[in-house]
């Protein structure tokens, strides 16, 4: 991608000497394949989008990446938003508060469609809503125009938080693991365990075999279905995290490519598209989390 404009060229030649030093370090740090380092070299020259978030600096052995920095910014913004909401909270709502309340009401009503139970919706609401807000803010921060052009040591200073698999994977793991914990709390440990390792189904066979001989066939199948459920839990993590990461990352690459072709006007519709994608992906992530919570908290029906 010939993303660099002509104005940029003198700058990059100026800085190239400086870059070389940095490159040496980073190449040593990333013990990765040759192709990978080549890609990195390429990326540093053109601020190209790499599949992984780039390291800005290290604190001990901890790599602070540009995505992490953006996430911190997102957290900061959310904290400010929360504090504003708390400060404006009053019995007679202001326009701002009405707006927030409308969102909360709408979200709860939407959740009722999935859970069919207001109490359950209210219980899960903080987690699901937080996921939605966190993902949404991260998605949108990645879209800020010119975000990639602010560089620090040759790498973009900010990169969408969710355009890093670490973020989406962490969220996906959290979503699925917490859904399982929620299921154990609501349904009970033994029952929940039988969802996956269906010992109950096997134990039932001798008792019911006279009444219903097909149980010899059905219950072992149920047992294996339970085992498959275990795999599906891992699939859930993968699908959640890769879907979010893929969409957001693809969006950023798309906008970067379009901007490289024609920087004025043309990327605009794609920006709108990505804004919508940002909402939709946040919505999908949170609703799927809600679905997992709901499935986990309903008893297995035979």
């Amino acid at each position: 991608m010939n993303a660099d404009s002509i104005e940029h060229n003198d700058k990059s030649t100026e800085e190239s000497a400086h870059h070389d030093d940095e490159m040496g370090e980073s190449v040593q740090e990333h013990i990765e394949g040759d192709a990978h380092t080549e890609q990195e070299v390429h990326g540093e020259e053109h601020h190209e989008h790499t599949l992984y978030a780039e390291t800005l600096f290290n604190v001990g052995s901890f790599n602070v990446t540009n995505s992490l920095l953006t996430s911190w910014l997102a957290v900061f913004l959310i904290i400010i938003l929360s504090l504003v909401i708390r400060a404006k909270n009053s019995r007679l709502p202001s326009a701002f508060q009405s707006f927030i309340e409308t969102i909360i009401e709408g979200a709860l009503n939407m959740m009722d469609l999935v859970t069919d139970d207001r109490d359950k919706s209210k219980k899960v609401f903080p987690i699901v809503f937080s996921i939605f807000i966190f993902v949404l803010v991260n998605n949108w921060l990645g879209l800020l125009p010119g975000l990639g052009s602010i560089t620090y040591n040759g790498t973009a200073l900010l990169r969408g938080g969710t355009a890093d698999l670490n973020t989406s994977l962490a969220l996906g793991l959290f979503s699925v693991i917490s859904a399982n914990i929620f299921g154990i709390i609501v349904v009970g440990g033994w029952k929940y365990f039988n969802k996956f390792v269906n010992i109950k189904a096997l134990l039932e066979i001798p008792g019911k075999i006279k009444k219903d001989p097909t149980i010899v066939l059905v219950n072992p199948i149920n047992f294996f279905v339970g085992l498959i459920e275990i795999i599906s839990e891992f699939a859930k993590v993968a699908s959640l995290s890769f879907r979010l990461f893929g969409n957001v990352f693809a969006g950023e690459v798309l906008i970067a490519s379009i901007s490289a072709m024609m920087a004025y006007g043309v990327p605009l519709p794609f920006m709108f598209l990505e804004i919508i994608v940002g909402i939709i992906q946040a919505l999908i992530f949170s609703i799927l989390t809600l679905v997992y919570y709901t499935i986990a908290s309903t008893e297995h029906e035979h």
Partner: protein, 164 residues
């Protein structure tokens, strides 16, 4: 796990993002969602309370209105009764007064008549007496003086009383 390396997965970064998310959950829940939902719930309760209060008030108003109407009706009939009674009473008293006045007038008239009659009687007797005296004096003058004084007088009186 080469694929994870390709995507730059780093458990430390994941942990950092998890912490970020935990902060988000805590802050959103503690400072935004919880107080806001409490406010909303409270307001819903208040609105419900207000609506039920308003309904109770409206019911009570209807009740009171009905009561007032009933009372007004009662008062009206009572007032009419009182008015009727008063009319009757006044009529009666007027009648009685009239009667009394009539009687009084009658007695006054009677008394006056009596008095007039009495006075007439006494006047007649006095006039008689005076006329008799005058006649006597006149006769005396006419019939020269002192001829059977007593007889004449007695005679005149007799004549006068016969005339009467």
């Amino acid at each position: 796990m080469e694929i994870l390396e390709l995507f730059g997965v780093d458990w430390k970064l994941m942990l950092a993002q998890l912490i970020n998310f935990a902060v988000v959950i805590f802050v959103l829940w503690r400072f935004a969602i919880k107080p806001l939902m409490q406010t909303m719930e409270k307001r819903n309760d208040e609105i419900e309370q207000g609506l039920s209060d308003a309904k109770a008030a409206a019911d009570r108003l209807d009740e009171v209105e009905a009561e007032i109407k009933a009372k007004l009706q009662e008062n009206k009939t009572e007032a009419i009764a009182i008015l009727d009674k008063a009319k009757k009473q006044s009529e009666e008293s007027r009648h009685a007064n009239l009667e009394k006045t009539k009687q009084e007038v009658e007695t006054v008239i009677r008394k006056a008549k009596e008095q007039i009659a009495n006075e007439k009687d006494s006047m007649v007797t006095e006039v008689k007496k005076e006329v008799a005296d005058m006649v006597v004096v006149a006769l005396r003058k006419i019939l020269s003086e002192d001829i059977a004084k007593d007889i004449d007088k007695k005679y005149i009186e007799k004549v006068l009383s016969e005339q009467k």
